[in-house]
């Protein structure tokens, strides 16, 4: 039953999209989150070319200028950093790198982890054993050591950093997926599909993945924050992204020493991370209801009432 609805929904594309929009309008929180993320996304694309020069223009006399000075241009509303560069402009410019690293690392680890988890849960005991022990190894390999090794041998770049962060996050997706698979595959409908001669691949992607997905989405949105902060810690130790490149994580780590004197230096980029995570999570919670045929009516009812 579950399957059929998804299939038909995908088949009727325009109808599906309109329905999603209506459901989004019904949930104010999700709507705000979606708008915020859209803005962030746009800033990530246009930020560097739009404000790049302004964000690197130094002014030692105006260092650590306090925020909320409405007299000055809007880029100064969040104050200035230790070199007198406008924080708001820097946050906007940093969006691109930040999102690239975070989204790249999360997507890579989630996809690799999930696929390996599905395979582990569904194949022979031997393959399962190999994959799981591999996960153990990654889990106990200190991420900092991976970082030092990769960045020392391959050099420091955004791509390599993404790789390092992705490797360290694979095990959690892998283990979660496998645990769920082991449980789900014993459930009635999977057994039934199997008896009816469905191929393993079909069972994996059509029957099992949809059930595992909600948990994985929750994890992935939370990992967004984790990856951004981990990147900040690496920068602090001198092996992450280094100036003049900027990311929110790097801004946080640079503002660390000013925490008691000029709180705004690390506060605003921190807030950006928090808001992004919050929005992602709200949106993923909404998506989960919107895609669940059993729960969808809640949003549709509300939508009708409002509209």
């Amino acid at each position: 039953m579950t399957l059929q609805t998804t299939d038909t929904a995908l088949a009727e594309e325009p109808h599906f999209a309109r329905r999603m929009v209506r459901m989004l309008l019904a949930d104010r929180f999700a709507l705000c989150a979606a708008i915020f993320l859209l803005v962030i996304l746009v800033l990530a694309i246009v930020g560097p070319s739009w404000l790049g020069d302004l964000a690197t223009k130094q002014n030692l006399r105006g260092r650590n200028a306090a925020p909320f000075d409405w007299e000055r241009g809007w880029v100064w509303w969040m104050g200035a950093d230790a070199l007198g560069r406008p924080l708001l402009a820097r946050i906007i410019v940093a969006t691109q790198n930040t999102l690239m690293v975070a989204a790249g690392a999360v997507a890579l680890s989630a996809v690799v982890g999930t696929v390996l988890g599905l395979v582990a849960g569904f194949s022979s005991a031997r393959v399962n054993q190999i994959i799981m022990r591999l996960a153990d190894v990654i889990m106990s390999f200190p991420s900092l050591l991976i970082a030092v090794i990769v960045l020392y041998i391959l050099g420091s770049s955004i791509l390599n950093l993404m790789l390092v962060l992705a490797i360290t996050r694979i095990p959690v997706y892998l283990r979660t997926t496998r645990a769920e698979v082991l449980e789900i595959r014993e459930r009635m409908f999977v057994q039934a599909a199997r008896v009816m001669g469905a191929s393993s691949k079909r069972i994996l992607f059509r029957h099992i993945l949809p059930v595992v997905l909600p948990t994985l989405t929750t994890l992935a949105t939370l990992d967004f924050a984790y990856v951004m902060l981990a990147e900040s810690a690496l920068s602090f130790l001198g092996i992450g992204i280094q100036p003049p490149e900027i990311t929110w994580g790097l801004m946080i780590s640079q503002g660390r020493q000013y925490l008691t004197n000029a709180w705004w230096l690390s506060f605003w980029p921190g807030l950006a991370i928090i808001l992004t995570t919050l929005s992602l999570n709200l949106l993923s919670n909404w998506l989960r209801i919107a895609l669940d045929p059993v729960q969808r009516w809640r949003l549709e009812m509300k939508g009708r009432k409002n509209g």
Binding site: Q129, V137, L145, A179, E183, E186, Y226, L259, G270, N281
Partner: protein, 315 residues
């Protein structure tokens, strides 16, 4: 007295034995990998000695610590020593690497145990309550709080906590070890992130479980009592939760670097960082060996817990 092969105890024993062998193999693989990779990342002599030290002094330092030999010879010697229980000496501290690591790991283990126990209890209660009335006020509130927890930089909280509770209010010591009071701030700060993450996972998993056919059947069959449904659902929801708890515990076992640094807590995280940056290979290897053993053991317990929660899962 070996139980018959098809008895549950027999299966369990077989499972653990197989697992132990596989884990041992991966542990060996891990050590081999770390041994060779870490040696590609620079010369400890240049870091132990001041920059002004002559080339002869550096060569002599390497000679003293056997770093001039071919890598394979060094490796053979290391393996030979490890087999006899000797994990080598710390280059920096001139004492057995294993002693250094075990000292630090004891602190880390306690910190991780206490923190994770508190986190698990609190997160399951809050997450389940939130799931019970999904979309309600408590759900929204706990979501915001837990998401804040998951995404707040921990050094913010740590420094602000020290300024407020230690300097201004003078209730707690700023940092260090010595009394139970010293543990309160580090544990509270460490609590925040795993709590935030696990609450979200519990909530998500519980929503799924509560709407699952299984619980619906129980309801349809006339099980009216809230607690029973709750327990049924929780049991179903626990699989991903346990996995994520394991993931969070593993990162604590690897050491809470920032917290250890700020609070001067003598755990394995700061030791590991310092040893990596200083290329103190023996300490790095011993530290990874010890934490890896702990993490392997924990994963074994988690897999046993899966089987316990859901008897259908067998492998």
């Amino acid at each position: 007295m070996i139980p018959p092969p098809d008895s549950p105890e027999g299966a369990m024993l077989r499972f653990i034995r197989k697992r132990a062998v596989a884990s041992l193999i991966s542990l060996v693989g891990l050590i081999v990998m770390v041994f060779f990779l870490s040696r590609l990342t620079g010369d400890p002599a240049a870091l132990f000695l001041p920059v002004e030290a002559s080339a002869e002094m550096k060569a002599q330092f390497r000679e003293l610590h056997g770093l001039n030999d071919p890598l394979l010879v060094q490796f053979a010697r290391y393996v030979g020593d490890v087999v006899t229980g000797d994990f080598g000496e710390s280059l920096r501290k001139a004492r057995p690497a294993l002693d250094v690591v075990l000292e630090a790991f004891t602190w880390t283990l306690w910190l991780a145990l206490v923190t994770m126990t508190l986190v698990t209890g609190a997160a399951i209660v809050v997450g389940s309550l939130a799931a019970f009335r999904a979309g309600g006020f408590f759900d929204r509130l706990s979501s915001v709080i837990s998401l804040l927890g998951a995404s707040v930089p921990d050094f913010w909280v740590a420094i602000v906590a020290i300024v407020v509770f230690s300097v201004n209010l003078a209730w707690l010591p700023t940092s260090g070890t010595g009394s139970l009071l010293h543990w309160i701030l580090p544990i509270s700060v460490l609590f925040i992130r795993p709590f935030g993450i696990i609450v979200q996972v519990v909530r998500g998993s519980m929503i799924g479980a509560l709407s699952s056919a299984y619980v619906k059947t129980a309801r349809a069959k006339g099980v009216k009592s809230g607690p029973i449904i709750f327990v049924h659902a929780l049991r179903n929801a626990m699989l991903p939760v346990i996995t994520v708890i394991g993931d969070q515990a593993a990162s604590l076992l690897n050491g809470a670097v920032i917290i250890e640094t700020i609070f001067g807590f003598p755990g394995v995280g700061k030791l590991m960082i310092d040893s990596i940056l200083q290329r103190d290979f023996n300490v790095v290897l011993a530290a990874i060996l010890v934490t890896a053993l702990a993490i392997f053991l924990m994963n074994l317990l988690i897999d046993l817990a899966y089987a316990l929660l859901d008897p259908r899962i067998r492998h």
